[in-house]
Symmetry: C7
Subunit: 82 residues, 7 copies
């Protein structure tokens, strides 16, 4: 009951969400409230993300930016696009 | 009286809350004031969280996002759903 | 006069406040201005806290949340309830 | 002229302010603009503080909270009470 | 399925976006909402950037600044100019 | 041209500003916009400062506080008083 | 194509901007939106800066401060003056 490590989850780790989504489209919610959508090419332990074919969606615009490096500490959450 | 380590608590650690909640539904309160609800699949020492079957609840919307990685440093608290 | 270590305080350390409060009710003031009250079950060096039987008090609500993990870097101060 | 270490200050270190104030009343100014006053019982290198007989002074209230752990990264400055 | 490392992405790493863009024009979006455009001369693991022939674009101005060092922790994302 | 270490500056380091100012009056500008003036008694690598004979100047007040420990991460810049 | 280290940039590093500017006038843009201009005397890996003959320019004032230590984490970017 007090073990509390993540063995219970079959040794999966939270960043596996990114491993499983590599090569697929993801939605990234930023602390700035903007969203970045793109194809996940690479990530690291800081959750720095390399996205291809990306676009940035802010309150009043939607801009295609192609390839982008998103700095991990700007990110609130990342979700594979449905 | 001056020991002050957490032996008194039977060697339990705060992240055991997450270990005990693995596979169960949790509520995550973010610094942005949004909430994320989902089934806890995995976590790490930074409190990065992998949630499945998740939805994000903000002041004026409730959006289903499926699988999500929530970055630990965006989180205020996490509680198992009742 | 220039020693300045905390030997003068009999080797007590600030986190002993939490060790002494284990199993007792504490009040946690968050950077968000919300308060969390609950029974302190466990803590670590980051001041991550496991609280049981907890409630969150914000400006206009008071919600019972049961068990909760509060992330240390969201916390301003923690005080044993009187 | 280019030495620039703090040998010139007789090997004193900034946290000696806290060592010298142990057992005495201090005023703690928080990033939130609140102040906490109390008797300094212990501190560590993060400037986490254990205060006894403490009170919190905010713009419109003054609340006695007894013993408190103040998280170092919430603090702007600490001064021994005169 | 649970591997989750970035081998799937052919050992590419997110900062390769910067390696690939060296000597080319990039757009840097800052947390302050300003943008800096310039030719990427060098970068490090903190995403500190050396830009040449740079200009800063804020809401109401566009200023040429020549060479600039942008501190990594001010950056939200970096994208090669199209 | 590409060396870029600070040997060119005769091995001086930025914190030498504080070493050179020890025992002298300094002005400290805080992120909160307040200023603290006092005699620099000691500092460390985090730019935590021990000031004696200090006063805090905010927009609408000027308060003498005597001895003070200013936490380094609250500081924008420090300058010897002229 | 996937190397992505900064060898392509001839082993230059972003902080070389500061090495090259030592002894010259630089403009420092702060997160507070203020600017500091001065002669760069020394810097370190945190981008803490020692400036001589400095002045601080805020929205409504321009104050000469002489020698100053600017804390690295307050800085957005640094550019040699033209």
């Amino acid at each position: 009951m007090e073990m509390g490590n993540n063995d219970r989850a079959g040794l999966s780790r939270p960043l596996d969400v990114l491993g499983n989504a590599s090569g697929k489209r993801v939605i990234v919610h930023l602390k700035s409230k903007d969203k970045v959508m793109g194809v996940l090419k690479a990530f690291d332990s800081h959750i720095n993300l390399w996205l291809d074919d990306a676009e940035v969606q802010s309150e009043d615009s939607n801009v295609k930016i192609g390839t982008v490096l998103v700095r991990g500490d700007s990110i609130v959450w990342v979700s594979p696009a449905k």
